[in-house]
Amino acid sequence: MDRREFLKSSLFAALGFSTFGGFNRLVKQAGASERYDFMVARGEAPAAVTAAAISGLGGMGRFVSPGDSVVVKPNIGWDRTPEQAATTNPEVVASLVALCVAAGARKVKVFDHTVNDPRRCYRQSGIENAARAAGAEVSYVDKRKFRDVKLRGYALNEWPLYSDVLDADVVINVPVAKTHGIATLTLSMKNLMGVMGGWRFRIHQKLDRSLVDIALAVRPVLTVLDAVRILTAHGPQGGDPGDVKRLNRVIAGIDPVAVDAYGATLFGVEPRELAYLGIAEEAGLGTVNFRRLKSGSIVL
């Protein structure tokens, strides 16, 4: 079968499970009686794994109400294929889009302010076709739609942010887990750079505090960390398939700091080593101690 058929059938299977409570039942058997705030799901099929993670949080209905306008913000930043793990796995993105649509979203937008040429990034990453097939409105960033936002933060006073994100009812952040030459690791907080306009690469000079400022302005209700494949070296661009490790994991949570802290452990990095996490915790964005959260896990 071709890629599109595979996507559709695995999405259907995933949806079937979550709507008929299949995963919920499995998750309950894992020892919890109600929904979690933090889920780690493992398995072979990225779409099903994603659906399982969302299911453990209580289903997409916890985040998306009928009629909502949703932004799903993956990492489409680089001209790389999914096997190179520099961009979010397209099946993970498509799975989330399908779940949002099923939850009654009026519109699901998928975009990223890419670094390489947007046409190549969107196409080569597979996200353009996968997200569109799942029902999302996929579009390139329109430079006119950035709006200056007064951040008055630790490092940034004001910055242009993409109006589609500012105007959305629901924002879902879907980063891919990678190493990063300057940030050590790029996880969910770094991924939010994709909604920034202007001379954004400047913030690499005061990166940690700037990322917290952006995170305070854009508050995703749901963070889904794609760890199906992770890039263990030469990130964020990567390119060498030898740097890619297949973990088959998807981590979902309402606390972006906790998700990133867990993500750090996948690389053998101590969460407190990532300065931006400590500052984020101080700013009230979440907690670095993910173990303290009501968390569940599932293996498919």
Partner: protein, 408 residues
């Protein structure tokens, strides 16, 4: 016949423009359209590249089809296919005089230009693309006219977006979205010497106000090459005895092939447009393969032929005294596109068509002026400040007709 011809001309012009618009990345590794196919059919580029580089790119074998067609039927390319010719016709509608006896000997100039080009090519210089009509058209559109067109449209719609008048802005954004999907480029192109390329091109088109198809009759080296081939054509024009010598055919002749009056048809200059056939009030003019005259007088003059050949040939050592020909000297800023051959080989192949510059997804490939010496004028170089070379992209090599840029 004229209506039919106009339809065919329109078809080829639209096809050309369509392929031009498609010379742009959609994100996939391959373009998916044979965007350089008009250049592949071009016998002038085929011959001059063969002479200067001693190589033939497989695409150029298509030009043999055009050579054979011209030998059989005369300059049908000029009259029916050439998109620049069609543009000349369109501009000429604004009112250019017909062929007049005022410039009887000027038709020879294009042959001198052709001879100069061929002589220079023999000694590995490649000037053909500068005046070849298809190369000129792609280059002018890509580097001058299309960027200007984009700038005009974008600034208009962006201004409306900024002003944001209710209702009107919704309509304008809707139209803008359609234009973006169809005729606008993905990003606004910027090119060095852009205004100059536009000016030269507009100048060439405005020559039609002096005289219709001025370029085709007096300047076009491809027209000259096809005119030489047309000497052997089987097509003949016949004027029956009903001719009243009204001179309408002479007046309307696009190629200036009837300058001596009805019955003096010169098949090297005839663009096979059939206008004379259509306009003859008594229907005396007709074309066929069997009966009729087929004169092909070409009074170039031995002295002028030798002068043209000498000019072309001697231009080579004159050009090669530039410092870039010196052993061990190179311009460190001259970064050629990825996959380019060795500079000497590159210069003997590149026809300065501008295809690579049009397709470059970051807009980094720009036309040189003197960066590669005069010999290398308008060849592509990377200007990293304008656009970097995207590592996994191989589009410039895919569109190069002469293989100056090898496909990676």
């Amino acid at each position: 016949m004229k209506t039919f011809r106009i339809i065919i001309q329109g078809f080829f012009l639209i096809l050309f423009l369509f392929l031009f618009l498609r010379t742009e990345s959609q994100g996939d590794d391959r373009l998916g359209y044979p965007v350089r196919i008009f250049l592949d059919f071009d016998p002038l580029l085929f011959v001059s590249t063969l002479l200067s580089s001693h190589r033939v790119m497989p695409g150029f074998y298509l030009s043999l089809i055009l050579i054979i067609a011209t030998v059989l039927l005369g300059r049908i390319f000029c009259g029916w296919i050439c998109p620049l010719g069609t543009l000349h016709n369109l501009v000429g509608l604004a009112g250019g005089t017909r062929s007049k006896a005022a410039r009887p000997s000027w038709y020879r100039v294009k042959y001198y230009i052709l001879l100069g080009i061929l002589a220079a090519s023999l000694f590995s210089v490649q000037p053909a693309g500068i005046m070849d009509p298809l190369s000129l058209l792609v280059r002018s559109l890509a580097l001058g006219i299309y960027p200007a067109f984009n700038s005009l449209i974008r600034s208009t719609f962006d201004a409306l977006y900024e002003l944001n008048p209710p209702v009107i802005v919704d309509i304008s954004e809707y139209i803008y979205a359609i234009l973006k999907r169809s005729v606008l480029s993905f990003r606004q192109p910027y090119f060095l010497q852009g205004a100059m390329f536009s000016a030269i091109f507009v100048g060439v088109l405005l020559l039609n106000l002096l005289e219709r198809r001025f370029w085709c009759k007096y300047l076009c080296p491809l027209g000259a090459l096809l005119g030489l081939l047309a000497r052997f054509s089987l097509l003949k024009q016949s004027v029956s005895e009903g001719c009243t010598s009204c001179g309408a055919c002479t007046e309307i002749c696009q190629g200036g092939a009837l300058d001596g009056g009805p019955g003096t048809w010169n098949k090297s200059e005839c663009l096979v447009c059939f206008d004379c056939d259509d306009i003859c009030p008594v229907g005396a003019v007709s074309f066929g393969l069997s009966k009729g005259t087929s004169a092909a007088s070409l009074n170039l003059g031995r002295r002028n032929i030798l002068l043209s050949l000498a000019a072309g040939g001697l231009s080579v050592p004159l050009l090669r005294t530039g410092v870039l020909s010196a052993e061990g000297y190179f311009n460190p800023r001259l970064i050629r596109p990825p996959g380019s051959r060795d500079e000497r080989d590159f210069l003997s192949r590149c026809v300065r068509c501008g295809e690579c510059m049009k397709v470059c997804i970051t807009g980094g490939l720009q036309p040189t002026l003197l960066d590669a010496g005069i010999e290398g004028i308008w060849t592509p170089m990377l200007v990293p400040r304008l656009g970097y070379c995207e590592y996994r992209c191989t589009l410039c090599g895919q569109v190069c007709p002469t293989g100056a840029i090898e496909e990676l």
